[in-house]
Structure formats: structure tokens, C-alpha cells
Symmetry: C2
Subunit: 319 residues, 2 copies
């Protein structure tokens, strides 16, 4: 099967419901027209076999996750998904794999009205690079550098189940099959919080998505906004499977687990009702976990209000 | 060196001359604002070590080429470069490599006023994925599906020297060092024909860039426009080093060499003077090599006007 046949068979769809692209797959470039009053939010993520996912990962789930991590970046900006490009390096033209991968990819894309408008396919070690495009009215994007002193710090959904599953898969510890399978749902098919991000426009002061671990990612907001924070560690919402583990593990994996794809955001204390209203409208739970303050650094408190001294490292690809 | 340090040291530049991005590297997404009356042209290319370039390729040249192939896609649409994202998978955080790669990348980016606005870095087999953004006034993009019957077919620059160098590097044949080095310039540091693409807006009927070999790439224009063509094979402009080789090799490598990154375009015969004027304005040579016609298929003629029966295959990543 040639490269052009591959593209045509699995990735070209002629009747996308929205057809926002003026010109899509099959020319040197796709052409996109921005709506009046809108700006375009752009993010690229690269997923590498053996690094971001195990060799042999189910292709349907991989298709889902590849787009989910990009949609999560749009969610973190409060941007509405519009379109994406897919660059794919494959060891071989495996039709069964492509069929499943594209099915998982398009199922999530359709859910978010996000159109595939171009890309590249080549032979090589398995590597999936998606660049995604979203839109926000000019000036409304949720940024990292705009948190204010005294903001509440919030997180969506739950944290740590993806890390719990990953640790078992890496043989750090054993989990019974039922627990592992349940936790692995968070790892393999994260649900990007697009609706919540949209609902938080004009309410939150700042936001990002938690991909490398809460404490490290929150650190980006704090650093860029010139602030510090206090977190009430035992209020962090642990995943259903992580809740059954030790306090020590729960603290570690909620604070620095990684692969959560939840939103962490800050909003003024005066707008708690609006935050809860946005969460309700988006059908996504949110938990208030601390607050920002002028003093640099992040202080971790236990349920008695005592300082916790935990050694934690955010995930780093070259550490 | 951590991922964040890497990004900061080699890829974040605070004082880009144009600063078209409203928000650049360091948030979940970059933010771009489209100018009034413009549409955005988008293209993604993925370069894999061992497939698109040899292991050990000079990092400066690789930085140049990675962006050049994307700029070439903008050129082929008649789009003005605006910005790009870079996703990079690296086996290790090699500072010397990164310094050279980023220098080659930014030298070409600056030449074309094209700003790096975001991306991703990760550990893995060397893979470079750039997504590029350009702009064209709405309705002016040079497409593949808009060639007309009786158009002249043109190609920019020269063809085949990249393929000539590649064959010697693959030990298909031997070249003396001087010839190989001269031919390899085309392979390693192609010059994207951005100025020519811009000058051809409103003049050419259709265009694309020649990356997989002229005859296969021209075939995309013909197929999408529902046309056929006759090419005068011996008028094809061979690279300076290829000109010294056999007629057979010259024909084969100009027709189906690959890696040329020249523009192939069609324009009405009534506008030859304007095409030549555009080429002059862009300081890029162009050669008229044939014409389109209603009869499907591509007929190849020699210098006596006799039909040539050549077996040629366009480059295909999964063939």
C-alpha cells in the first residue's frame, strides 16, 4: 500500500460535519479562515513509542490519547477545538493498526467537532505528532501568567490513577487485575476538559493542564505569575483506585503523578459560585485545593494544617 | 539538563523582529491573530533519521532543511511565512547538536520572518516535526486542482542534483568528491522558493513543490485538475552536477529524483511574460517544460519530439 493510498484510505473523509477548512488534505497546505473577533490557539504534542506509551498499546486507545493530549491543551486555554494536523511515522503500513488508530482518533475528534486538515505519513519508529488549532474570542484565553494573589487554586476531576496504573505496568508494585484495569482507563483514554475550559473563560484568572504532575505544572503558573502557593495536600482529589492505596502513595501520585490531563486553574475567592456553576455546566467535578500568595514557593499542608516535607519530582523527559 | 532548560536555552527568543504571536512558547498553546482578509495556510512535515536524512547529518544543515521543506509547502501555495511549531524527539540532550540545529533553523527562519511559537521536546529516536503557518489573501492561494487545459507547465531552479548526491551516498555509483560535495548542497540546504510563490499569485493557475520527483508530483496537479500533459523531457533543467552525467541519468533524475524543493506550476500561455517577470522579481530561474491537455496521462517527448518510454517511480514511503 502506497503512502497516498494509506492517507486516502484511513485519513481522508470527505463529509466532515463542519468543514471549517477551505482546503484540506491533498494540497501542499490546508487553508483555514479565522472567524472575526477570534484568535487561533495552537499546540503541538509528540508521542513516542516506549516513552509516552508502551509498545503494543491498543491502537484505538492510542488514537484517542494522541488527540486527547492536544485537546487538553486547548481546554487549558479555554479554546474551542477547530482542526488538527497529524504527522505519523510508522514502522510498516499495518492496515489493522491504522484502522483501529484512525477509529479512536476520529471518535474523539467528532465528539469535539475537530477536523483533520492535513499532515504527513512516513516510515520510521512509531511517532505521532499532532498540531491542534482552537479558537477563542480575542483576549479571553486562559493563560499561565495571569494568576493573582489570593486566588483559589482548583483542579478538575481526579488525579493519580494514571500514575497508579503506570507504576504497576512498570513493576514498581503489584495491583490486582481489577484495580489495574480500572486505573488504566485514566492512563489510556483521558477525557480532555474542553467544556470546562470554555465555561471558565471570564471566570478563571489562569489555567493549564496537568500532564507532568500537579505540583510541577502549578509551578509554571506560579513562576510566570510571580507568585507562591499553599496547597492542602489531603484535599487533592485522588482517583477512585488511588483512594484505596496508602496515604503516602496517594499524596505522591496526586501531587506528582503525571498523565492526568485535568485542568489546574486559579480564580478569585469571590467567584467560587461561578466556578462551581461552570463545573456543573460542563458536567465536570472541581475541587478547591489551596490558594496563591505573594511568598514564592509552594507550601504543602496536611489535613491538620502542618507543613509536609515531601521529596517530589515533576516528570522531566531529559532528567 | 531538563526539558524546560533545553527549551529555554535553545528555542526561546524574546525579541523576534515581528512578534506576530500574541502569546508564544511557554503556555499550553500559542495564540495567533489572523490579519483581516487573510487565510492561514498550514502544513506539517516529519523528518525521520535514517529515512529523510542520514544518521550523523550536520545539525546546522538539518535545522535548515527541516524548516526549508515546510517553507517550500508555503511557497507552493503562494503563502507568506508567519510562524511555526517544532516538535523534536531526541535520543539525548546533546547541547552541541542543539546549538547547531537551532542556529541552522533560526538562520532560515529569520531570512523568511518566520517565528517559532511553540512545540514539544521529548526523548526518543531522532524525529523532527514542524508545522508551519503562512498567510495569503483569501482566494489567492495556489492550489493543485485549478490547472486549466493548455496551460504551460513550468519548473523553478534545477532538478536532480539532490538525487545525484543521494545515489552516491547510497553507493549506487561513485562521484568524485568535488562533484558529490557540490551536488550535496542541493540535498542538504534546499532553498525554498517563497519569493517566487508570492510573485506567482494571480499569475499561475496551479502549483506544488517537487519533493517526491517531478513526474509524480506533477501527476497530483493533473489528477486533481482532471488533465493530462506532455513534457519535453530534454528541456528539464538539470542541476549543474547532473548536467555532467549521462543522458539516461539526467532524464531519470530530473523526472523522478526527489528532494528538489523546486516549484512546479502551470500558467496560461498568454501570461508567459508575466511568469518570466515574476521569476525575475524573485531572482529565481524558471523553465517551461511542457503543457497540459485534456487527454489523461503524461506523455514524455525527447528533443526530437519522439515519445520516450521510461519506467519511473515517484518516491513512496511505503512502496
Amino acid at each position: 500500500m502506497s503512502e497516498f493510498d494509506l492517507i486516502a484510505r484511513y485519513f481522508v473523509r470527505h463529509a466532515h460535519p463542519k468543514n471549517r477548512a477551505m482546503l484540506g488534505i491533498g494540497d501542499d497546505c490546508a487553508l483555514l479562515l479565522q472567524q472575526d473577533g477570534m484568535q487561533t490557539a495552537i499546540s503541538s504534542d509528540m508521542l513516542v513509542e516506549g516513552r509516552h506509551f508502551f509498545a503494543g498499546t491498543d491502537a484505538y486507545k492510542l488514537g484517542h490519547k494522541s488527540l486527547a493530549v492536544n485537546l487538553s491543551d486547548l481546554a487549558a486555554m479555554g479554546a474551542e477545538p477547530v482542526a488538527f494536523t497529524l504527522a505519523l511515522s510508522l514502522p510498516k503500513a499495518d492496515e489493522q493498526w491504522l484502522e483501529k488508530f484512525s477509529a479512536g482518533l476520529f471518535a474523539l475528534a467528532d465528539e469535539h467537532n475537530c477536523e483533520l486538515i492535513g499532515g504527513d505519513t512516513t516510515k520510521g519508529p512509531l511517532n505521532i505528532c499532532i498540531t491542534i488549532f482552537g479558537q477563542t474570542p480575542i483576549g479571553t484565553a486562559l493563560r499561565r501568567d495571569t494568576a493573582q494573589i489570593g486566588d483559589d487554586i482548583w483542579v478538575s476531576g481526579t488525579l493519580g490513577d494514571a500514575r497508579l496504573a503506570l507504576g504497576a505496568m512498570h513493576k514498581e508494585y503489584e495491583l490486582d487485575a481489577k484495580t489495574l484495569n480500572a486505573a488504566a482507563v485514566s492512563l489510556h483514554t483521558p477525557q480532555p476538559r474542553v467544556a470546562l475550559g470554555l465555561a471558565l473563560r471570564g471566570v478563571a484568572h489562569s489555567a493549564l493542564d496537568v500532564s507532568d504532575g500537579l505540583i510541577g505544572d502549578l509551578g509554571h503558573i506560579l513562576k510566570k505569575s510571580g507568585l507562591g502557593a499553599t496547597l492542602n495536600v489531603d484535599t487533592l482529589p485522588a482517583g477512585a483506585m488511588l483512594q484505596k492505596q496508602s496515604v503516602e502513595m496517594r499524596r505522591r501520585f496526586t501531587l506528582a503523578g503525571g498523565d492526568d490531563y485535568e485542568l489546574c486553574f486559579t480564580a478569585p475567592a469571590s467567584r467560587r459560585e461561578e466556578v462551581l456553576g461552570a463545573a456543573l455546566a460542563a458536567n465536570t467535578s472541581v475541587t478547591r485545593i489551596g490558594s496563591t500568595e505573594a511568598t514564592p514557593g509552594t507550601r504543602l499542608l496536611d489535613s491538620d494544617g502542618k507543613i509536609l516535607d515531601l521529596q517530589l519530582a515533576s516528570f522531566d523527559h531529559f532528567a
